[in-house]
């Protein structure tokens, strides 16, 4: 960067003073909203898994408790509901595991980059 650019950068830093009291309020409100969102997402996931599990259990119990003269359509409905529920649980777990792994791998890569950067900095 040019010398003027460097001077400008230094002059721009701290050109305005941040009021601390409003900053604290903003931080607390934002963190509270973040926590609420995480809690909502978690509860939605729990409800979805609960619903699918309930569907699977209901389908299985209904299928095996149905009398012998139950129409074929009804039996097929139980089977489809069972498969739908199991697929939902399976895909949900797969999606969650993929997300979690992806984030864990990315974090680890960034940490390694930071370590390398620190080592290069120490040597130079």
């Amino acid at each position: 960067m040019s010398e003027f650019g460097d001077l400008l950068k230094e002059a721009l830093t701290g050109a305005e003073t941040v009021p601390t009291d409003r900053g604290k309020q903003a931080l607390e409100a934002a963190v509270a909203k973040f926590q609420r969102r995480e809690r909502t997402v978690r509860w939605m996931a729990v409800i979805a898994v609960g619903f699918m599990s309930g569907l699977v259990i209901w389908a299985a119990v209904s299928f095996f408790r149905a009398p012998d003269d139950t129409p074929l359509r009804t039996s097929l409905l139980h089977v489809v509901a069972f498969l739908f529920g199991m697929s939902g649980i399976g895909f949900g777990k797969l999606w969650f595991a993929m997300m979690h792994d992806h984030l864990a791998v990315m974090k680890e890569l960034k940490r390694m980059q930071l370590m390398l950067l620190d080592q290069v900095g120490t040597r130079s």
Binding site: G23, K107, R111, L114
Partner: protein, 186 residues
């Protein structure tokens, strides 16, 4: 290298937020609070408006951080949200002014006494005084380019204006700054 380190730290924090870590989000807010507040202050011209705009922006970010695919894009994304909230605030203000009449432009900063008898100690202080006399939007442009290191295309995305407009405004901002410095030097 310090910049690269800071960027990497921010990326790790964003990834932590995507995992749902409250501590990561708190740290991220603490690290970015001052910078984003200054950007809001430059665009709105008022301390209280800047605080309100930033609070709205953080609430939007708390909602949308989980959907941010590229953690390296966090700075651009954060500045874009703050700029949009500031633009909304300005739109509302203009609407109020249509009804109640214009207010005084507060985008120039009150600073320490810049009287001619009080000569600046060095070039940085001279530049600082000149910057305070620049309109807030131009200060914001210079800050995004020289301080945060965004290029023209990124600034265009942040402010929602064409790249050509960014280039010409940057040029005019630097020119205006030089004129102010020349006047102060006389």
């Amino acid at each position: 290298m310090a910049d690269a380190r800071e960027s990497l730290c921010d990326e790790v924090l964003v990834l932590g937020c995507r995992e749902g870590s409250r501590e990561a989000f708190t740290l991220l807010v603490e690290r970015w609070q001052a910078r984003l507040w200054r950007h809001a202050r430059r665009l709105t011209g008022r301390d209280d408006a800047a605080s309100d705009v930033l609070q709205d922006a953080w609430l939007a970010m708390a909602e949308g951080l989980g959907r941010l695919d590229d953690p390296a894009a966090f700075p651009r994304w954060a500045y874009t949200i703050v700029s949009r909230r500031a633009a909304d605030w300005q739109r509302l203000r203009r609407r109020d002014e249509d009804v109640a009449g214009p207010r005084v432009d507060e985008t120039e900063l009150p600073g320490p006494d810049d009287s001619a008898a009080d000569a600046p100690r060095d070039a940085v202080e001279l530049l600082g005084r000149a910057l305070r006399r620049l309109p807030g939007e131009r200060r914001a442009l210079l800050s995004l380019h020289h301080l945060e290191g965004f290029d023209v295309a990124e600034i265009a995305e942040i402010l929602g204006i064409p790249a050509g407009t960014v280039k010409s405004r940057l040029h005019h901002a630097r020119q205006q700054l030089r004129d102010i410095i020349e006047r102060m030097d006389r």
